[in-house]
């Protein structure tokens, strides 16, 4: 045997709590940067938040199979000259430990042109559902006190499911079909 796995047979080291860094946060892109990346050809992004009525909420939930927490959705109409070339949405999803803000581009045919993560936050637990806890991150930037120290805040083992984002994109496609695509036909 080349290697003797001694550690396996002796009492292994107990991880001291002090070695454990707290939660993790990262701002990847601003809304403007994500707009440029998802629609590089665009000339203007016109804020046009989508407001759904109760019936529309029910239909969106029906199409997407995802529950809506709010009836309004931040959205921008993407303009190239007089033409609308797509829609840009900003959305957030949260799980037990993570809180993710992301942007989705949808073209005029109702297809996703891209998804970019804007912010990623992690916490120990319940705080994420608390509005005050979430509010503290508004305007937080790279290198703030929430980021891990060191040259690079890599987390190995961050195999967080992107299930929530997949559901979120499905919900946005349904909102687009219900409120945006329908509106532009009028």
């Amino acid at each position: 045997m080349i290697e003797d796995l001694r550690w396996w047979n002796v009492p292994a080291i107990v991880v001291p709590a002090a070695l454990c860094a707290p939660a993790y946060a990262m701002q990847y892109l601003t809304v403007e940067q994500a707009q440029q990346l998802l629609f590089p050809q665009a000339e203007r992004f016109v804020a046009a938040p989508v407001q759904l009525d109760r019936e529309q909420v029910a239909r969106v939930e029906g199409y997407s199979g995802v529950r809506l927490r709010v009836q309004s959705q931040p959205a921008w109409r993407v303009q190239l000259g007089e033409a609308t070339v797509g829609w840009f949405f900003v959305d957030e999803v949260y799980g037990k430990h993570e809180f993710i803000t992301y942007a989705v581009g949808i073209d005029t045919a109702g297809r996703v042109t891209g998804v970019e993560i804007l912010d990623y936050r992690e916490t120990h637990g319940g705080e994420v559902r608390n509005a005050a806890w979430r509010a503290q991150f508004i305007g937080a930037g790279v290198g703030d006190e929430l980021a891990l120290g060191g040259a690079i805040g890599n987390i190995s083992g961050a195999t967080l499911s992107c299930k929530h984002i997949t559901e979120g994109v499905r919900r946005l496609l349904a909102i687009h079909a219900e409120a945006v695509a329908a509106r532009s036909v009028e």
Partner: protein, 293 residues
């Protein structure tokens, strides 16, 4: 050094690509976009769920059939074969039927029975495979690491001096070496343990976010081919290696059989760290030096 970082949901996880912004931020942004496009391409080639992927074509093929595959799939399957041979089958890409049975992969009602066993795939010249028997392949245990390596190679080829790619815990750095990498605490996944990063790639396999109940226990999507069953989600394994595909594949071997993995790790120039869930405390050590942490 200012790192430009972006993340996208890809490969069933969040993939982060970061490069040293350098003097030309636009070029750096473009390089990151190209890296994401390459990862998407590799996913379409090797994804279990993608109906036109090489993997789906292999899984639909009849016994005896010869299946041509893309150069990248070929490279992954060749590497998989060497990991299987080195571990006497502890690493095996033909475990898809077991993953289906445990609920980690969807199973199609009309799917023909398939045998588990890496020798069922025979690699032929000209990027072709011969199926010795019906097999169903899942490259989930190795392709993520390969995609990370390829993305890093692309970033370097287009002139990026430094950066990293992290696909949900499959990590590779280039051009600079951060001192430490954070690995999640097995019992409190939002807490992390800082480990020295003395090789350019690392991969972690642990249950935290992927575990599920199965046959009265909590399991994760790593199958022990000797028992034809998924492993209990009790430990966290991190492997450090020279490239990410090696790190990715070796985590599976160490997870399944930590006591037997020492020689295999040594052969591939890799190191491992295991954290085991004890009675209310987390235990950890490396295969070569238990004082390392």
């Amino acid at each position: 050094m200012t790192l430009l970082r972006r993340a996208r949901p890809l490969l069933g996880t969040l993939v982060e690509v970061a490069v040293d912004a350098g003097p030309d931020g636009a070029a750096a942004m473009h390089a990151i976009s190209e890296a994401f496009a390459l990862i998407e391409h590799l996913h379409a080639r090797m994804g279990f769920h993608c109906p036109h992927s090489d993997v789906s074509r292999i899984n639909r093929a009849r016994p005896g059939a010869i299946v041509p595959v893309g150069a990248d799939t070929w490279e992954v399957l060749s590497a998989a074969t060497s990991f299987s041979a080195a571990s006497q089958g502890l690493f095996d890409v033909t475990i898809a039927p077991l993953m289906e049975r445990a609920g980690f992969l969807p199973s199609e009602a009309d799917a023909p029975p398939a045998a588990v066993g890496w020798q069922g795939l025979e690699l032929l010249d000209g990027q072709r495979l011969r199926l010795q028997r019906a097999v169903r392949v899942d490259l989930g245990g190795i392709a993520k690491g390969y995609a990370v390596d390829r993305a890093v190679a692309l970033l370097q080829a287009v002139g990026m001096r430094a950066g990293h790619v992290n696909a949900g815990g499959d990590l590779r750095v280039f051009g600079h070496r951060p001192d430490a990498v954070q690995v999640r605490h097995p019992q409190a996944p939002t807490r992390t343990l800082s480990l020295p990063l003395d090789l350019p790639a690392a991969a972690t396999s642990a249950g935290y976010f992927q575990q599920r109940a199965w046959a009265g226990t909590t399991v994760l999507p790593i199958v022990d081919p000797r028992r034809s069953a998924p492993c209990a989600a009790s430990r966290s394994v991190t492997v450090f290696a020279r490239d990410c595909m090696t790190a990715d594949a070796l985590t599976k071997i160490v997870y399944v059989a930590p006591q037997q993995s020492g020689p295999i790790l040594a052969r591939f120039g890799a190191r491992a760290l295991v954290m085991e869930q004890g009675d209310g405390e987390a235990l950890c050590g490396t295969h070569e030096d238990r004082h390392r942490v």
